[in-house]
């Protein structure tokens, strides 16, 4: 089948960008979306043109590298799927598709469909961990964890950090990403001692990075390839409010070190 693409092309961070039209004449329905772009890039290379830059690595939906917006939906039309796992059988001959990078102030475009997601790492660095150094921790079974808590923690911990939630949110909020980590650790006994500091630190960092506020509209969970629920955002709000008004003391800094 034939697919017509309008791809965002931008030379570099500070360059102007524009949508450029390409035709992909021989698309097989068994191809993944990224394999279609591979073929396009081979054609562009043969013509001496600059191939389209896009991030990708594992191509099985777990590394979180890939992702762009297809016709206005982050990771494309299939729910619970990253673009690397999106196959062309879900499109039809003659489809016209607009490919754009994640758009957010906190995610500057580096080139074409690639953006800089370093802000996510800095949010994790602001408290997204349990402060335990390598050494002699207690036995793995010393603290029983109710199965349901472990399961819910795992639901949140599945986040792959792809950034689709930010891309889909009209406010470019990073609340789903941040709350997934706050929830993952907050649901486990190991995460309790720093639960409040973690919420404070990560929420603060989220604002410093220039992400917007959560409007609870739910676009993020609709595009999340791991189907992470906005229930986690409520939990983050709760931890933050408890930290701000609760009894437990909290310092200005995290307890890293």
């Amino acid at each position: 089948m034939k697919i017509i693409l309008h791809v965002w092309r931008q030379k570099g961070r500070d360059a102007e960008g524009k949508l450029v039209r390409y035709e992909c004449p021989n698309v097989s329905e068994h191809m993944s979306f990224l394999e279609m772009l591979d073929v396009l890039n081979e054609d562009l290379t043969a013509r001496g043109e600059d191939p389209v830059a896009f991030e990708h690595d594992c191509r099985e939906g777990i590394c979180g590298c890939c992702g762009f917006v297809i016709n206005g939906v982050a990771h494309g039309p299939m729910p619970g799927t990253t673009v690397c796992q999106l196959h062309m059988r879900h499109f039809k001959d003659g489809d016209e598709l607009y490919l754009e990078p994640w758009r957010a102030m906190a995610f500057p475009v580096l080139k074409d469909l690639m953006v800089d997601r370093g802000a996510f790492d800095r949010i994790i660095a602001a408290g997204g961990y349990v402060s335990v150094s390598t050494g002699a921790p207690p036995d793995g079974n010393a603290l029983p964890v109710p199965k349901s808590d472990a399961e819910r923690a795992m639901d949140a911990a599945q986040c792959i950090g792809c950034g689709a939630c930010v891309a889909a949110c009209p406010n470019a909020s990073a609340s789903l990403f941040t709350s997934a980590k706050v929830s993952h650790l907050g649901l486990l006994p190991q995460g309790q001692p720093e639960r409040h500091e973690r919420a404070l630190g990560m929420v603060r960092q989220m604002a410093i990075e220039g992400f917007g506020a959560c409007g609870n509209i739910g676009e993020c969970e609709a595009v999340c390839p791991k189907r992470i629920s906005i229930e986690n955002i409520a939990r983050m709000h709760r931890d933050y409010l408890c930290a701000a008004f609760g009894e437990r003391p909290h310092g200005e800094t995290g307890s890293a070190g």
Partner: protein, 637 residues
């Protein structure tokens, strides 16, 4: 040169203790005066960088990804082994040690494997403390499953995403150190060379993948945790950007390369569907617990599976291995699948596939039970192939999954270049000639959390924190070399794309240095690869420029290295005139077609020492002594 494995003295269960006691310590106040470079942020590199930061060293951590969390360890599905014996089923450190040595077909160092089994216990505790959400029983205790044919339940898991959760644990520990300032992270940097000053590793040369700038960074020691080289086959289960460049360039600076031909081919992957295919997806090994593997009895039978009557099906694993059936080890299952496809009985459009059929299990256990066990895997299969495994049998075929070979290291994980340490899949590791399921995660974290942080301290304690100079002639030479190589790649301006060379190389590797190898094929492949390499440097087309994001350029550098490494792999496979584990030389097989070791002549690790461009590398030998586990013929009949 002699390979000194530095195995500590004493009985095997005391070796690691003795070694730790013998090691010199760095004064806590002095630790920050030592700078350590860690390349790679997977389970090994990430955990090492975090731990070294916690200890107080000044750590500089490099990754070619945008974030440490992207490393390919994230894709590991099944689990991580540990000799906890939580299930009270008779597991012990000794049993895990024994299984691993035997599973590796007696080509691993006993002392290393024992240490790995000892440390496995600490890893679980550490990860639980970090908040890794391992699967739990209803009572709140950690759950285990049996994996990869093991007879005890010692595998810890977090759904089908164990690697992801373990990596995120290490990543979070690393981010904590970055926040504390003890680790400085350099993302989107590709290591292009190792700086060796007076015979000692003192730094690396990197390219900033955004600006294209070359940078020389010096330190007191260098740690490589850059993963395996399975991507040399083009199609593999590895991530697309996993590469051998860091270890290959270190090899060319004098680090011996151990057992390069030891490659693991995983039997249950989704078959190739077309020429454009970029990657193969693994289906967890656990599927073989309930799926039956078969092909049609007749050659070239193109009927759909449902129309092939029971009498015309060949359940070849059950037929050949009545006692283990579909659960034979990975190398055996893979080889047999290849064999039936080579006979022309393969299924699917390409003819390279076998059925993995759940019909019997579904009628015996009900579709619901199967959904509970494998629902997410069936969904993934459906997503990729568009076929429903509940109604049509899955099609699977073996694919390259892991490389047991890598840079040779001694017991203390130091390579043949002093000051260069290699951890995780990047080293030639503890798995011998075949890795058991759920052991890769164990080894990566053992190296990073619990072995390297001690042994590197011993090395540093004996070397003064001398100010290495980024302007030293050796550093300048390495920096200029990396720049020149990049300009050379951009300057060829030929007709063929980088990927087309990579695909062609992959075909030779798969055909001649894949699941079955023979003398003629390996000779032939070496010639083919040499010719392809010659064409590459004459006819490769790398578009764009060096001072920008240029993914074609990145790939070109990696493929250039694969074109050299491929030849070494073939040479190693050629010289190892025996069959063992994943290395199957057709000339050496039992009458039943099983791998036949030659312990007389090949009970050793081979390590190759670079001798310069165009020269045959020197084959060094580290003899392997088996004092505790006595080599025997593996049999699964």
């Amino acid at each position: 040169m002699n390979l000194d494995s530095r195995i500590p003295s004493g009985p095997i269960e005391k070796k690691w203790d003795n070694c730790r006691f013998d090691m010199k310590l760095v004064n806590p106040a002095n630790k920050r005066k030592y700078t350590v470079i860690v390349v790679g942020t997977g389970l090994a590199g990430g955990s090492a960088a975090a731990t070294l930061g916690e200890l107080g060293y000044n750590v500089l951590c490099f990754s070619h990804q945008d974030s440490p969390r992207r490393a390919h360890s994230i894709a590991a599905q099944g689990g991580i082994n540990a000799a906890k014996n939580y299930q009270n089923d008779g597991d012990s450190i000794y049993r895990l040690f024994y299984d691993t040595v035997k599973g590796g077909d007696f080509r691993a160092r006993e002392a290393n494997v024992y240490r790995l089994a000892q440390i496995s216990v600490n890893i679980i505790d550490q990860c639980v403390a970090q908040g890794v959400p391992f699967a739990r029983e209803y009572g709140g205790m950690l759950a285990n499953r049996s994996f990869g044919g093991a007879q005890v339940s010692r595998t810890f898991y977090a759904r089908g995403q164990t690697g992801q959760q373990l990596l995120l644990g290490a990543y979070q520990a690393l981010e904590r150190q970055i926040h504390a300032g003890s680790v400085k992270m350099f993302p989107r940097r590709e290591m292009l060379d190792l700086i060796v000053i007076d015979g000692v590793a003192r730094g690396i040369v990197t390219r900033d993948m955004v600006t294209g700038r070359f940078e020389a960074t010096v330190a007191d020691a260098v740690v490589l945790g850059t993963g395996g080289y399975g991507n040399i086959f083009y199609l593999s289960t590895n991530a697309r950007n996993s590469n051998a460049t860091a270890i290959w360039r270190a090899y060319k600076r004098g680090a011996a390369f151990g057992n390069p031909c030891f490659t693991q081919i995983h039997p249950t992957c989704i078959p190739v569907s077309g020429e454009y295919q970029s990657k193969l997806t693994l289906m967890s090994e656990s599927l073989r617990n309930d799926g039956r593997i078969w092909v049609p009895l007749k050659k070239g039978d193109t009927r759909p599976s449902s129309q092939i009557p029971e009498a015309e099906r060949d359940y070849f694993l059950e037929r050949r291995y009545p006692s283990f059936g579909n659960l034979v080890p990975r190398d055996v299952a893979s080889r047999n699948a290849k064999m039936v496809c080579d006979e022309g009985r393969g299924v699917g459009p390409s003819g390279f596939g076998v059925y993995l059929d759940f019909a019997d299990s579904i009628s015996r256990l009900g579709a619901e039970t199967i959904r509970e066990r494998y629902g997410n895997l069936f969904e993934m299969y459906d997503l990729i192939t568009g076929e429903d495994p509940y109604t049509t049998p899955m099609r699977i075929y073996p694919a390259v999954h892991y490389t047991m070979g890598g840079l040779w290291v001694d017991y203390r994980l130091q390579s043949t270049i002093p000051g260069l340490f290699v951890i995780g899949e990047a080293n030639f590791s503890d798995h011998g000639a075949n890795r058991l399921g759920a052991s890769a995660l164990m080894q990566g974290l053992a190296d990073g959390y619990f072995v390297l942080p001690y042994t590197i301290g011993d090395y540093l304690a004996q070397s003064k924190p001398a100010k290495a100079d980024a302007n030293h002639a050796a550093a300048r030479e390495a920096l200029d070399g990396a720049g020149a190589l990049t300009r050379k790649l951009l300057g060829v301006k030929g007709k063929r794309s980088v990927d087309s060379f990579h695909k062609e190389l992959g075909k030779y590797m798969w055909e001649y240095c894949g699941m079955a190898r023979n003398e003629k094929g390996l000779e032939h492949a070496q010639g083919k690869i040499a010719a392809l390499r010659e064409e590459f440097w004459r006819n490769v087309n790398v578009t764009g420029e060096g001072e920008e994001i240029n993914q074609a350029l990145e790939r070109a550098g990696r493929v250039a290295d694969y074109l050299e490494l491929g030849e070494l792999m073939c040479l190693d496979a050629y010289q190892r005139r025996e069959s063992c584990g994943g290395h199957f030389r057709e000339e050496w097989q039992t009458p039943e077609g099983e791998a036949q070791r030659d312990d007389e002549r090949f009970s050793h690790a081979a390590a190759w020492l670079y001798q310069g461009a165009g020269k045959t590398p020197e084959r060094l030998v580290e003899p392997l002594a088996f004092e505790y586990v006595h080599p025997s013929q593996r049999s699964y009949k």
